[in-house]
């Protein structure tokens, strides 16, 4: 009997077991999936919670609902992985494996930035990438009466790289809805050299921050937060004063990844773009945000990559070489407020370009432009996530990015 152990029952891990179980004979293969808790959170929905557009109930389901028959689910903390002995330590018990898939994602680590986790945490200093953070921020904004809101990205890479930008756009919209825009300033601070860093996006979208009167503090690499003075301080000693600080904390993979020796400096696992294995560990795989693939950490990437991963995994266990290489395909809606959104579609070699998606020339979605249809696409995506993606079904979209329908600039 072969044993496949999957660590993490988020999007990537759940998709993997749903895709693999039908292809692995249950007389020959045991599949076990482990997660530290029972709750599956629809992470793209966290963005909407601070603005009262979604409530916590809108983003929570039980992980077990999405785990197929024939897969054993264990809810317990993952303590250690020993790749030499091919064992995982889970809550004091040992699980042996022949094949191991790590899908434990990446998480905000506010403790990595001095000053962040003090008395001001979730009072004047917030995050929104966790359910607790998004909910606390909703409560804070409900009591908000104007001032200076600073949205600060602490480190690269972080998951869902467009979410902070969406957050500032929605903040601008929300302030206008509440009639407080003239009493508030919105500042976006990023360690990158701008809000948009790819040539075509910069040209086509660069005006958005000015139009929405959002201040930009670029090349801002945060060293610490001073909650006495209410300022964020960068390594080059710039200070940004805030009344409300919304942070995107340093993102790191699980601690057991670090201790197993599989991780990089942020506990992400650098993997091959065909096999999804780290070098020297052919029976270990990393998928989803836990993997370092040189592309965005996002659900759409996890989805497109899962098709390539599953096909190559099923070849690998039969002793066959991998076929296709993952092209880094990502596809993200970007909420821009006022019932509109933008859409981007790109991969390792092609930057986000304008055009129509998914049907060339028809759409219904428009790339790199604000439209109402894109906004509806984003809202409908939640249904797709629970009913199609997580269950390992294919979207009517190819996993590889297509140039058809895209314009050159």
């Amino acid at each position: 009997m072969k044993k496949l152990v999957v660590l993490g029952a988020g999007l990537a891990g759940t998709m993997a077991v749903n895709r693999l179980r039908p292809h692995l004979d249950s007389d020959d293969w045991d599949i076990v999936i482990v997660d530290q808790d029972e709750t599956h959170i629809y992470q793209p929905g966290l963005l909407f919670i601070p603005f009262g557009m979604y409530r916590p109930d809108d983003v929570i389901r039980r992980r077990r609902e999405f785990i197929p028959p024939g897969v054993q689910m264990i809810t317990a903390p993952i303590e250690a992985v020993d790749t030499d002995a091919q064992k995982v330590l889970v809550n004091g018990h040992t699980l042996e494996y022949d094949y191991l898939i790590v899908a434990t994602g990446t998480s905000p680590r506010p403790e990595q930035t001095p000053g962040l986790l003090g008395d001001a945490w979730r009072d004047t200093v917030h995050d929104f990438y966790t359910l607790e953070g998004a909910t606390a921020l909703a409560d804070r904004l409900d009591r908000w009466d104007g001032g200076r809101i600073v949205v600060d990205v602490m480190e690269l890479p972080f998951k869902c790289p467009v979410a902070p930008l969406e957050f500032v756009f929605l903040t601008d919209w929300w302030l206008q809805e509440r009639g407080m825009r003239d009493r508030a300033e919105v500042i976006y601070a990023t360690p990158l050299s701008g809000a948009f860093t790819k040539p075509v996006s910069s040209r086509r979208l660069g005006h958005l921050l000015d139009e929405k009167k959002i201040g930009l503090e670029a090349d801002f690499y945060t060293e610490r937060v001073d909650t006495e003075k209410n300022v964020v301080v960068s390594y080059d000693e710039r200070e940004i004063p805030y009344d409300l600080l919304v942070t995107i904390p340093v993102n790191m993979g699980a601690d057991f990844v670090k201790n197993s020796g599989l991780g990089d400096e942020l506990n992400h696992i650098v993997v091959d773009r065909r096999t999804f294995s780290p070098e020297g560990h052919p029976n270990v795989f990393a998928i989803g945000d836990a993997a370092e693939l040189g592309t965005s950490k996002a659900g759409s990437v996890a989805h497109f990559a899962s098709e390539v991963f599953t096909a190559n995994f099923l070849r690998g266990i039969r002793g066959l070489p991998p076929l296709e290489e993952f092209d880094g395909h990502a596809n993200c809606f970007i909420e821009s407020g006022f019932g509109k959104a933008m859409l981007i579609d790109f991969n390792y070699t092609t930057e986000p370009l304008p055009g129509k998606f998914p049907l060339p020339g028809i759409g219904p979605f428009t790339l790199l432009e604000e439209t109402e249809m894109n906004h509806w696409g984003k809202l409908m995506f939640r249904w797709t996530y629970w009913n199609v993606l997580l269950r390992g079904k294919d979207l009517p979209l190819p996993s590889r990015m297509l140039l058809a329908g895209k314009e050159s600039s």
Partner: protein
């Protein structure tokens, strides 16, 4: 949008921000000339340690390393990187080392 420039006697293609578009054409003698363009008059051994690491890590990973990755790989303090490459270390050291500037997805 690219154009051609002569850097330390070598004709190379650069992008609209002056970054060398093909990392493989970069040579050691270009570094000093590029450094002067961003206000660094002299490249010390510490500068060179960082530049060499950027080149090696880019060759291995296909991606320009982040400041955190550099500090963790070669044991240099972030503050020191800001001293060596003032104000915009991420961008300046990539520019001098002839590798792409750090980018977001959009």
């Amino acid at each position: 949008m690219t154009s051609t420039a002569v850097i330390a006697g070598h004709e190379v293609t650069i992008d609209d921000e002056g970054f060398i578009t093909d990392p493989s054409v970069w040579t050691d003698d270009m570094a000093a000339a590029l450094a002067k363009n961003v206000g660094i008059d002299e490249l010390t051994p510490d500068h060179w340690t960082v530049i060499r690491h950027l080149r090696e890590d880019f060759a291995a990973q296909g991606e320009t390393p982040t400041l955190r990755r550099i500090t963790s790989n070669i044991g240099i303090e972030t503050k020191r990187l800001f001293e060596l490459f003032p104000k915009k270390p991420g961008k300046k050291m990539a520019y001098i080392a002839g590798v792409p500037k750090p980018r977001g997805c959009i």
